[in-house]
Symmetry: C2
Subunit: 236 residues, 2 copies
């Protein structure tokens, strides 16, 4: 074992672990995206603010590690089963990601500007490419499609947390819809006829139903292409 090979370092044992710091940051984030300051995290784990810098080089590293950890919580088994229809696997992946990330709205705010290139992010991309390859997309289309899906998933999350704007805790979906309904009906209908007509639907934008609706339209667009290409190839 190489792990027993490396001796314990010279100094005092560390009082914390990286994970305890991330735990603290994550729980603080439930009080708003700005609540996870270095000072607050340090206070939460009972240590001086600058002790954090023994574990992470700067705050951006804490954020990156936090995002990576959330991505690591995604259960791959749900959509790694190649016996399942590929569409359901993509939907399962999208729902898993949304569930794990929107559970921490503050963290979603933080991932904007995070690198998203950690090993867990790569693993998820790889899984997605796998599913799309199983769907019959050639490697180039699969790559493009995976980015399209990531944009959709990530964009939905960002718009969703922007909508609830660091209110805490996250209100229930039905309550959020009602709030938006009110906001829409306050608009001048004479200048925005389509918007007024679509108010009820638009109030329900931010919902799992709309999320899946959009996802399915995208999947249809991806496979329409495959179908077209298969047709054009013809008797091959």
């Amino acid at each position: 074992m190489s792990e027993s090979g490396r001796r314990r370092p010279r100094g005092p044992r560390r009082a914390l672990t990286e994970n305890e710091i991330l735990d603290a940051a994550l729980s603080l984030l439930d009080h708003g995206p700005d609540a996870a300051s270095v000072r607050a995290i340090a206070a939460r784990v009972g240590v001086a603010p600058n002790a954090i810098y023994t574990y992470f080089p700067d705050k951006a590293a804490v954020v990156n590690a936090l995002v990576e950890r959330l991505l690591g919580e995604v259960d791959h088994d749900v959509f790694a089963d190649r016996a399942q229809p590929w569409r359901e696997r993509v939907e399962a992946l999208a729902l898993e990601l949304r569930a794990k990330l929107s559970a921490h709205p503050g963290a979603v705010s933080l991932m904007v500007g995070s690198r998203l290139d950690g090993s867990n992010a790569q693993a998820l991309t790889e899984r997605l490419l796998q599913v799309l390859a199983d769907a019959g997309l050639d490697p180039t289309d699969a790559a493009r499609a995976s980015y399209l899906l990531i944009v959709y998933i990530f964009g939905s999350l960002v718009l969703e947390v922007a909508d609830v704007q660091h209110k805490v805790p996250l209100p229930a979906e039905s309550e959020r819809i009602a709030t938006r309904q009110l906001a829409f009906s306050a608009r001048p209908p004479e200048h925005f006829p389509h918007s007024a007509a679509a108010a009820a639907t638009m109030a329900g934008y931010i919902s799992t139903e709309q999320y899946l609706w959009g996802l399915r339209r995208i999947l249809e667009g991806l496979t329409a292409r495959v179908a077209m290409e298969r047709e054009s190839v013809g008797s091959d």
Copy 2:
């Protein structure tokens, strides 16, 4: 005229306009998303920091106004022409928005968490709904589709600015692709076979070409639905 009806206020004439403040903020944003501090803006327009609060209640209002102003710069004529094919109108809208917003990467960072419910945002939504209605979507589908498109456009922008991470000025597209190419080839190919194979495509993710590719897949998904529904309605 009601404008001549309101008399000039009592005090000294204002030294600035809201627009000058937004100009200053916008030019500062080109030096990074954090460069547009209230103090920096005030210094830029030659005024004490707290004078800004005579024009805007707080910094969030400045950001909202800035985003609204950028949305107002979008040229509606390009996609308001109902004689044009609706697909091209949607593409023109998407390209206009991307062009106007990604010209100010710092501002895109700021719009995350902005309300996006100003009159210009509403006008764009209305236009989008109009185009989708012209495409033959019923009001409900048009509403859902417009949100899907907004998520895509906005998500693409957010991921794009996250990729260049406040580097300034924005590097050329070819250079960004080369940088990403390097990053991808540094990954362990044995654990991520699909990712490795798709590296070249993925390096080119962030490009106008990929942006349009995804957009067209979405439009195909939306119209595949319309086509299906028309078929199922049958002889009607």
